[in-house]
Amino acid sequence: MPASDQNSVELEEKVEELNNKLKTGGFTGSYDIANSTLRLLRKVIAGSKWNNARELMDRVKSVGKLIVASQRSETSVGNMVRRVLKLIREEYARCRGNPEGGDVQSESLHRMFTDNAKTEDYSVPILNVDFKAVVIEAVNEILIELENSADNIAMQALEHIHSDEVIMTAGRSRTVEKFLKQAARKRRFQVIVVECAPFYHGQELAWSLADAQIDTTVITDSAVFAIMSRVNKVIIGTHSVMANGGLKSINGSHTIALAAKYHSVPMIVCASMFKLSPVYLCSSDQAAFNKFVSPHSVLDFADGKLMSKVHVTCPVFDYVPPELVTLYISNIGGNAPSYVYRLLSELYHPDDQDL
């Protein structure tokens, strides 16, 4: 059938495009990645052939695996795939008239012993409703949630930033940028931006904040500890939140977190729900946790004599253990890092943890 062939070719092309963009770093932030992934998955649901929920889930999984493989350190891709899988499960259960089915919270020790025989295999076709439309509608809802997440976080700014406070932040997080600008509408405060070498995204943030009439100071990474005693709050963004409540964020964050701990400065992390990933850090050398980019920002390639003698590693991320984090602000409110496991179990189905 030419029509379906055409669809599948088009889909493959789209997947290839996304893979390429992920590989070459064409995205500006993890929000963009999550958004593009979701849009692609919506196309997969709408455009490919499937007869029941099981087949649909397999299809979503296989496409998801392909995208995840192209850049393993980008966790938000996997998160979005898991969100969509969970949503298919829920919608299936609802359409089958079993609102409890997809609900994991009701899973308890007691339940494990009482009805272990009943496992759902999602293979019964749903006839009475247009399942495809229902699922797509649900994906659209996640998309809307995604689009509003930064604004929802920013709405909480006034609860955390008070007049004449000194706030420290690092790198350039779009969420934090919005958060600070929102607070600046009502209150006057000072922001100290850590520049975050070698990428210097902090300098970009400082420009943008200064344009919005916020009192901004840029400091080098090495000045963090010296300045920390003057700071009232550290507010940073993150690349993703690990399952134990730890952070995978721009390198330099760990130093900041340790300095904050030493000076007992609260460390607040702004992270939308899509950044929560069901991944643990087992060793500091864990494959696909970090991203190692070209050393050219650290060492000048032209300097041949030095270049051939040294070994430069240029990691992008730091791991910040959960005990250094005071509070997460997500689009659904503030939470302690110890509560992250609970949010995770609400967001993802346990069967989908391994893609």
């Binding site: 055409q6 493959e12 495009e17 390429n20 393993r72 070209s294 050219h296 300097d303 051939s308």
Partner: protein
């Protein structure tokens, strides 16, 4: 399905599609004997064929259409592309293979492309062995912007800063550039490789300009953005063989034609060409230390490699590392390979399905697929091609190349710089020279340069028409061409025609009679020598002119034609043609033989003939009497060289 794909492409056509021309042949034999079975672009570099790096780079830069030009082993390249991801329907970029058995140079490729009318807009010209991660889209955008303002901007060359002595400066090109500081226009380009110690810049470079920057710190990435007129210019000037010829030609004529070349500096990105074995080593190292990110094994191979501390890349399937083996740093181990106990590996790439025994030391080696290394071997910086077997306790010293399927040992020591191959090796000296290019760069320049040009036939497949002017009479076409050239030159003197126009005339005659470059070189030289005799009254009285008379006649002619000669005798082998023609003519005419030394001296002074080429010709020349005639000049030349050499040292 096909119709859909077609439709899709038609849609693309309407927009401005981005095209790239990949020259998948090197036209030299730097990689023998490895290239005897596979074309260079399919040799594995860190377990991925070279061509894949180039195509990956082009596709991720958003190029829509790629033409891969190949001649040597074209069928292999074709089937490789067919099996690759670029032939799938989902590929965002269409790769077309163009096979042309008779192309001998980059110039021929572009002429062919022009003839086939493939280019519709600005295109990227690149060789099939470039590894790069630069943002090509932005460079193309800039080029287009520039062209909007200045329609004579026909080319943007991409270069990268690398100080002298940098390991990536491959030693084959050593460009010196003069650049207009505002705008980045290239005013002068010179390849100083083998050019001696003196550099000259034409004065017009410095006239009427605020600031001119001279650069010796740039490395040519062999990557340029060209406007469609470039292909046409190659057609118009059939004597352009390489891109260097083209650049030089454009720059020399930039005041007349108005064409301009700009420079783009890509300092903070990576780009390098695998031109010879030492560059193979260098680029592999750069990939392992992630300078080429995102073109690194753990990303290019769809996540099949894991990346660990100290740049250790392990394939995730079936790699077996025995207890006690040590991978110290910069190591790649391919799918299905096993490493034995107490083995030490550093700075090396191990291909697929390799078996490495116990107690082996591998340092800086490149093992391709299916290599077996026996217990207790010591392998230094070398290449072991597919299916090589080393038996027990073999030692391979640095700089060796062991070609496909060789079995070595047991208990053998292979001395440094050895080439091992099952098939006869075409040119032995060349590759060892390349491999050791870093160590000795003084003596081998001229020889490797010349022999690489000689070897063109071997790798190029088609084989250039070998015109041996010495005893065979020129073919019909050539004879007519010769008459034509003689005519043009005569008229040139009589009517005092400008040298540029004479070159044009000669070029068009070359086209008309379809003679090769080599014939042209020979015949032009011959024509210049013959003219005094004709003027003195035809061929019969040739002997009548005494040497002093002849010199008197010849001198003004040489002065007059010097620009023409220097136009044709740019490369070492064309100069050699010229010398051979001089030799041949002198054999037939005693008075010419008598003035030969003076002619050589004049041509040398005018920098039409290079010193190294003259010396090379002299050593090969087999006519003792002729040799004795030019002996004084050669001695003078040698003395001058020694003097200047000692001058340098004393400073």
């Amino acid at each position: 399905m096909a119709s859909k794909a077609k439709k899709h492409r038609e849609e693309l056509k309407q927009e401005d599609i981005l095209q790239a021309v990949v020259i998948a042949d090197s036209f030299n034999v730097r990689f023998t004997p490895l290239t005897q079975e596979k074309p260079r672009v399919l040799l594995p570099l860190v377990n991925t064929p070279l061509l894949d790096y180039t195509l990956d780079f082009l596709c991720s830069a958003g190029i829509d259409e790629v033409f891969v030009f190949c001649c040597h082993h074209a069928d292999l390249i074709k089937s490789h592309i067919k099996a690759s991801k670029w032939s799938k329907d989902s590929s965002t970029c269409q790769v077309t293979v163009i096979v042309s058995e008779d192309v001998m140079s980059v110039g021929d490729c572009l002429r062919d492309i022009d003839a086939k009318d493939l280019i519709t807009s600005d295109f990227v010209l690149i060789t099939g062995d470039v590894v790069s991660n630069m943002d090509l889209g932005a460079i193309i955008e800039k080029h287009k912007e520039r062209r909007e303002k200045e329609k004579f901007c026909i080319m943007t060359m991409v270069m990268k800063r690398a100080l002298p002595g940098h390991r990536s400066r491959c030693g084959e090109t050593d460009p010196v550039l003069a650049i207009d500081v505002d705008g980045g226009r290239i005013l002068h380009y010179q390849n100083t490789q083998g050019a001696g110690k003196r550099l000259e810049f034409p004065t017009h470079v410095f006239l009427e300009r605020g600031q001119v920057a001279l650069h010796y710190d740039l490395m040519d990435c062999e990557l340029s953005i060209c406007s469609p007129t470039v292909a046409q210019l190659f057609t118009d000037n059939f004597d352009y063989q390489t891109r260097d010829d083209f650049v030089r030609g454009i720059l020399i004529n930039q005041d007349i034609m108005g064409n301009m070349i700009y420079l783009h500096r890509a300092d903070d990105t990576y780009a390098s060409r695998v031109t010879n074995l030492s560059m193979y080593d260098v680029v592999s190292k750069d990939i392992l230390s992630r300078w080429t990110y995102p073109l690194v094994p753990d990303l290019t191979e769809k996540g099949s490699y894991s990346y660990g501390r100290h740049n250790i890349y392990l394939h995730q399937e079936n790699v077996t590392l025995a207890r006690g083996c040590e991978l110290s740093q910069n190591v790649v181990i391919g799918e299905g390979s096993t490493v034995g106990m107490d083995t030490h590996i550093a700075n090396s790439v191990i291909g697929r399905n390799c078996k490495i025994g116990k107690d082996v030391k591998i340092e800086g080696a490149y093992l391709w697929d299916g290599v077996v290394v026996g217990d207790g071997c010591i392998v230094a910086r070398c290449i072991l091609a597919d299916a090589v077997q080393l038996c027990e306790r073999v030692t391979i010293e640095a700089g060796c190349v062991v070609s496909y399927g060789c079995v070595v040992g047991p208990h053998r020591v292979v001395p440094a710089g050895t080439l091992l191959s099952l098939t006869p090796i075409w040119d032995f000296t060349l590759d060892t020279a390349d491999e050791e290019a870093e160590e000795d760069d003084d003596d081998d320049d001229a020889s490797s340069f010349a022999s690489s040009l000689d070897d063109d036939d071997g790798d190029g497949g088609g084989g250039r028409d070998d015109v041996d002017g010495r005893d065979s009479p020129p073919a019909d076409d050539a004879r007519q061409f010769y008459a034509e050239v003689l005519d043009s030159l005569q008229r040139g003197v009589d009517e005092d025609v400008r040298a540029d126009n004479l070159v044009l005339e000669v070029n068009s005659s070359k086209y008309a009679y379809n003679v090769t470059m080599r014939e042209l070189n020979t015949l032009v030289t011959r024509a210049v020598l013959e003219m005094p005799h004709i003027r003195a009254g035809g061929d019969d009285d040739a002997a009548a002119l005494t040497p002093p008379q002849l010199m008197l006649q010849l001198k003004p002619l040489l002065v007059k034609f010097a620009p023409i000669l220097s136009n044709y005798f740019k490369s070492a082998d064309s100069q050699l043609d010229c010398l051979n023609a001089l030799e041949e003519y002198s054999l037939g005419c005693s008075s010419t033989a008598a003035v030969l030394a003076k002619v050589l001296h004049y041509l040398y002074n005018e920098e039409i003939l290079g010193e190294q080429v003259i010396m090379q010709w002299y050593t090969k020349c087999q006519h003792a009497d002729l040799k004795s005639q030019v002996q004084p000049f050669i001695t003078w030349l040698q003395e001058a060289e020694e003097e200047s050499g000692s001058d340098e040292e004393s400073e």
